[in-house]
């Protein structure tokens, strides 16, 4: 630590600079600085990309060896095989969304944040924007690479392949990136509502991963499928695959239901953020 000179002026020395003022663009930049300045952000983003790529490429390779190895339910759809990593990537990208908010509460950073932006809502809006702006391009690039890499592997073994121009393929690739982005935003909302990393993560994983399986086990068969297709992961399935599952929602309905899973928790988060003591 350097010794401090007592005569140093406290006031800003650069008088030609514009007078400081709170603006949404500033809040956006602030959230970007926060995201890029902690190691966990890059780690989770990279982790999600690696998981998605390796799952897609491994499943494609398994097909070439003619084995009945691990793979998605629909083993005849070459697009689904190469994008199979979405499920694992969801888990990791969800952590990113949750941590962006919950780490502020666990460290106390939220007090600094809300003191700087006492109107509060711009903070949530900026966090969501930064998550979308980071996760969507990164996951789109990953999904594209996984798709093209998977098709190349299967094509090399003379297996049926899909091209980006085939009907529904581009939708599935972009849809996968969108679904991952949506999960991250649900994570932001849950982190903000529950203000705890553990609580928000278990809620998110319960909703995305456990609920479909538990529902299969516990709900009566007569109306089980009518309920389960509305869960976020199943609704997402309608636009992350080339052809929506027969017993699920159509693409448009799936997009709307999935969007509701994102928007409703966000509204709850906004209401609570405004009303609660920080």
């Amino acid at each position: 630590m350097s010794t401090t000179t007592m005569e140093r002026p406290v006031a800003r020395t650069a008088v030609d600079e514009p007078e400081p003022r709170l603006r949404f663009t500033g809040v956006l930049r602030s959230e970007w600085v926060k995201l890029r300045s902690v190691r966990s952000s890059a780690m989770t983003l990279l982790g999600a990309a690696v998981a998605m790529l390796s799952a897609g490429l491994v499943f494609a390779s398994t097909r070439t060896s003619g084995g009945n190895g691990p793979g998605p339910r629909d083993l005849v759809d070459p697009t689904a095989i190469s994008l199979a990593g979405v499920n694992i990537a969801q888990l990791i990208i969800g952590v990113l969304g949750v941590m962006i908010v919950s780490s502020e509460y666990s460290t106390g950073m939220i007090r600094s944040t809300l003191t700087g932006v006492p109107s509060r809502l711009p903070v949530l809006a900026a966090k969501v924007s930064v998550v979308i702006g980071t996760v969507f391009p990164a996951m789109l690039l990953t999904a594209l690479t996984a798709f093209l890499g998977g098709q190349a592997i299967m094509g090399g073994a003379d297996l049926p392949t899909a091209a980006l121009g085939d009907p529904g393929v581009l939708k599935a690739v972009i849809g996968s990136a969108a679904a991952l982005t949506g999960i991250a935003v649900i994570g932001v909302a849950l982190g903000s509502i529950l203000r705890s990393t553990a609580g928000a993560l278990s809620t998110l994983f319960g909703l995305v991963f456990l609920a479909p399986g538990l529902g299969q086990l516990l709900l009566p068969t007569s109306w089980r499928d009518d309920v389960l297709k509305f869960l976020p992961s199943n609704a997402g399935g309608s636009f992350t695959s080339v052809v929506p599952p027969a017993d699920g929602l159509g693409t448009t309905a799936g997009v709307l239901v999935f969007a509701a899973w994102v928007v409703v928790p966000l509204i709850a988060a906004a209401v609570l953020l405004r009303g609660r003591d920080a």
Partner: protein, 309 residues
């Protein structure tokens, strides 16, 4: 300028701040003093909008904090509780907070220099000592070049050098015409820094006085040593006079000057060996003020002589 009017904060059945009213003016260092749990931190949190008042108002420079266009330009705060992500560097922490107001990297480096953290600016805050963390908190408070500076227990964790530095800094800020409001539970610290005091206990205002007035108003007696102390008590007792024994034949007489006591003892022929006026320390004055508002007292050893004695 800080204006608090009828400010009340309840958490369930517990009242943390109870109808508090006071004003903190620019140009001087004002101390916010009270025992732990008196409601100081809660009041400060309400001033910057972290907590919503149950009733009453808390205004900074004439407005409720959230209504300002550039909140960080109005008031810079250091709260007692930690408010930093340990994985971020000091510089990134300041950049992130400053970015909301368009505060430049140049200003960030300026405040880092000011608080003496330039050399560790790129180190993760999690590795900082308590004192370095405190300096970073002060850097955050000064970042917006604010008109009002409010620090909760600023000397916590600082070494003697750091304490001296912050006293000089705070007096300098006040001399520049800024409003400086600092809390402490230690009177001794306030005595060296503050010129005015807001004293609270159990969420209520106990005193709003200048440090000089507080010392002057503290009721302190004269210590008298006499071989005939019982006769002396009988002689001096009267309206507005309080006499107690402090042991070893020494009496503490409140309400009479040294001259009064000497002349009356001389007239009665009672010898006096020692006559010492007691000057109250600020610490004692403060203890006297907050006596009723602290929850637990230690026992006192002085024996009081009633009027009947």
């Amino acid at each position: 300028m800080i204006e608090v009017a009828n400010l009340t904060k309840r958490y369930g059945a517990k009242t943390a701040v109870d109808g508090l009213t006071f004003t903190v003016r620019p140009g001087t260092v004002t101390g916010f003093l009270g025992p732990n749990g008196a409601g100081k931190s809660t009041t400060m949190r309400m001033l910057v909008g972290l907590d919503t008042p149950t009733s009453g108002t808390a205004k900074v420079n004439g407005k409720v904090y959230a209504e300002h266009r550039a909140p960080l330009r109005e008031i810079g705060v250091l709260l007692e509780a930690r408010a930093v992500h340990p994985g971020r560097s000091a510089r990134d922490h300041l950049l992130a907070i400053g970015a909301t107001h368009g505060i430049t990297a140049q200003r960030v480096d300026e405040v880092l220099e000011l608080v003496g953290l330039t050399e560790v600016a790129r180190r993760r805050v999690g590795n900082f000592s308590l004192g370095m963390g405190q300096r970073l908190g002060i850097a955050v408070a000064l970042l917006g070049d604010p008109h009002t500076v409010m620090l909760d227990e600023p000397v916590n964790g600082l070494d003697p050098d750091g304490i001296k530095w912050i006293r000089t800094l705070l007096k300098g800020l006040a001399a520049e015409g800024r409003t400086v409001f600092i809390s402490s539970h230690l009177m001794s610290e306030m005595a060296l820094t503050a010129e005015h005091l807001i004293v609270v206990g159990r969420g209520r205002l106990i005193a709003d006085v200048s440090v000089a007035d507080l010392i002057a108003s503290a009721t302190r007696g004269v210590h008298v040593l006499s071989p005939r102390s019982t006769d002396l008590v009988r002689l001096l007792n009267g309206d507005g006079v309080k006499i107690s024994s402090v042991g070893g034949g020494v009496l503490d007489v409140v309400g009479l000057s040294t001259e009064d006591i000497a002349l009356r003892a001389l007239a009665a022929g009672i010898p006096i060996y020692e006559l010492t006026p007691q000057r109250a320390s600020l610490e004692e004055a403060y203890m006297e003020l907050t006596e009723e508002s602290v929850e637990y007292h230690g026992g006192t050893t002085t024996t009081s002589f009633g009027k009947a004695a």
